[in-house]
């Protein structure tokens, strides 16, 4: 395939992925928006005033970046894992496997689909947050790139889950038992400086912490972690997961018998 053909194959997958989650927007876009709105109401409006300021911001302002990030992470992951597993389950993954499209394009297409949904939901949640709180953006470039890179990272993670998944249970196990705890403990709702020292150290092992803090730095200009470390960690994980995904696709794990 020449470059032009590869490009065609790539955006075919991307368009298909975007149409897929758009067709079922009531299952894909609406729920995170509602959940996040509830977080804003309960934690921001009702409980927030009792908590007081965090690093000079209201509690509501403090959690907005974390909640946007949480939505981006969950939805990027969910999109790729359900789309990839779905195409294994229905067999239509074969449409790509019989074609000459290279594996890295398949990977890029699925991941871009996950990014599209992550960004769409992220944008929707950001809009909702404007109802409750003013949005300062200190460093737009940082906010945008950290959001995009995090979305990429979790789209890759979703693909790997999709490769290994053998049942619909398998696509909800990782989100429930790994992703949700990591996100909740990743500094969405608090600053790790509030934790006892030992828990601060343990928190540093959680990759999500670096993403939430990087994003919060972009929005509010404050973070528990230097921003360059956030970039380094996220890029490192992307490189790792992307190579692993390529290995899985090249070996045909879970897709070729």
């Amino acid at each position: 395939m020449n470059a032009q053909q590869k490009w065609t194959a790539y955006y075919t997958i991307l368009i298909r992925e975007v149409l897929r989650f758009s067709r079922i927007w009531i299952q894909t876009i609406l729920p995170p928006v509602i959940t996040t709105a509830l977080y804003f109401i309960i934690f921001g409006n009702l409980i927030g005033p009792a908590i007081g300021e965090m690093h000079g911001f209201t509690y509501m302002e403090f959690i907005v970046p974390g909640l946007i990030m949480m939505a981006v992470i969950t939805n990027s992951y969910a999109n790729v894992v359900s789309s990839f597993y779905g195409s294994k389950f229905q067999g239509n993954i074969a449409e790509m496997l019989v074609s000459p499209v290279p594996n890295w394009i398949i990977l890029a297409g699925f991941v871009s689909g996950g990014i599209a949904r992550g960004m769409a939901v992220g944008a929707a949640v950001t809009m909702v947050s404007l109802i409750f709180s003013k949005l300062y953006i200190e460093h737009l470039f940082v906010m945008f790139t950290i959001g995009l890179l995090t979305s990429t990272l979790f789209s890759l993670a979703g693909l790997i889950n999709g490769v290994y998944a053998k049942s619909f249970d398998d696509i909800s196990i990782v989100p429930t038992f790994v992703l949700t705890p990591l996100t909740y403990l990743g500094g969405v709702f608090y600053s790790i400086t509030m934790l006892p020292e030992i828990w601060q150290k343990i928190s540093l092992l959680n990759p999500v912490l670096y993403m939430v803090n990087g994003f919060r730095y972009g929005v509010l200009g404050i973070a528990d972690i230097p921003i360059w470390i956030s970039y380094l960690i996220i890029l490192g994980f992307i490189a790792l997961l992307a190579s692993f995904s390529m290995y899985l696709l090249n070996r045909g794990i879970g897709i070729r018998t």
Binding site: Q5, A9, I13, Q90, G91, E95, S99, P100
Partner: protein, 307 residues
Amino acid sequence: MTAALAITDLRKTYDNGFTALKGINLSVQQGDFYALLGANGAGKSTTIGIISSLVNKTSGSVRIFGYDLDTQRELAKSQIGLVPQEFNFNVFEPVGEILINQGGYYGIERAIAAERAEKLLKQLGLWEKRKEQARTLSGGMKRRLMIARALVHEPRLLILDEPTAGVDIEIRRSMWEFLTDLNESGITIILTTHYLEEAESLCRNIGIIDQGQLIENTSMKTLLSRLDTETYVFDLVEPIEQIEDKGACHFELRDPTTLEVSYHKEDFSLNQIFAFLNQKGLQVLSMRNKTNRLEQLFIDLVEGNKA
């Protein structure tokens, strides 16, 4: 001329240890219409799966129009259109999009793919359904959708794994016609089927797989000429009580008006048999071939392989 498909010593052992292919050698010439027959579980779909990159082979080599599937994978893949045995499209995708997307995976621009999709969907009687989700199609329509999908990128080799399973007689006939036209336009076709009459009327050459081995690979003509016994069933006008064999020609009375005749082709002609019946004063109302001749041969071959 390079073969459309050349398979050498192809073996497959599945992860569970089951050996589905035990060294298949097979070559299909360009322009051929080839039937791959075999009982359930013989290894047809496994062979097709390997050719179309859906199944990893254990050993052996596959060449498609001279392109090696291991070393020239992209080129090899571009030549093939696959109609798999099981429905495997996304049932929530609209019919038209399935075709356009499939074209996209081969690098075909959406506008061009859309034109080809229109032509194919019209030819296969699915144009009205182009905007419907694939799950709303009937079984026969789903089969035709898979045929259309396999042709969007204009392959030179079309492989169909039981394309007419569950398809009604009328549609089957029109599919045959469609495939014959494709073949006449130069596309090499390989087809598996359990309807031997289908293989007989469509295919020029034939291979029979049994338990992972190719036990027959010859032209349809040669195979049929090996049939030396003919069996006919005559419906008689008047009932009779009994009838004696005439030499090596064997008569059997199923009921008083149904007579079964079997004979060796070298020994007798139908005319001689009619003459004999005439002489006995028996009038034949109608006659038919007892079984599909190929069916008997197929069973003999597969039985022979077991022994």
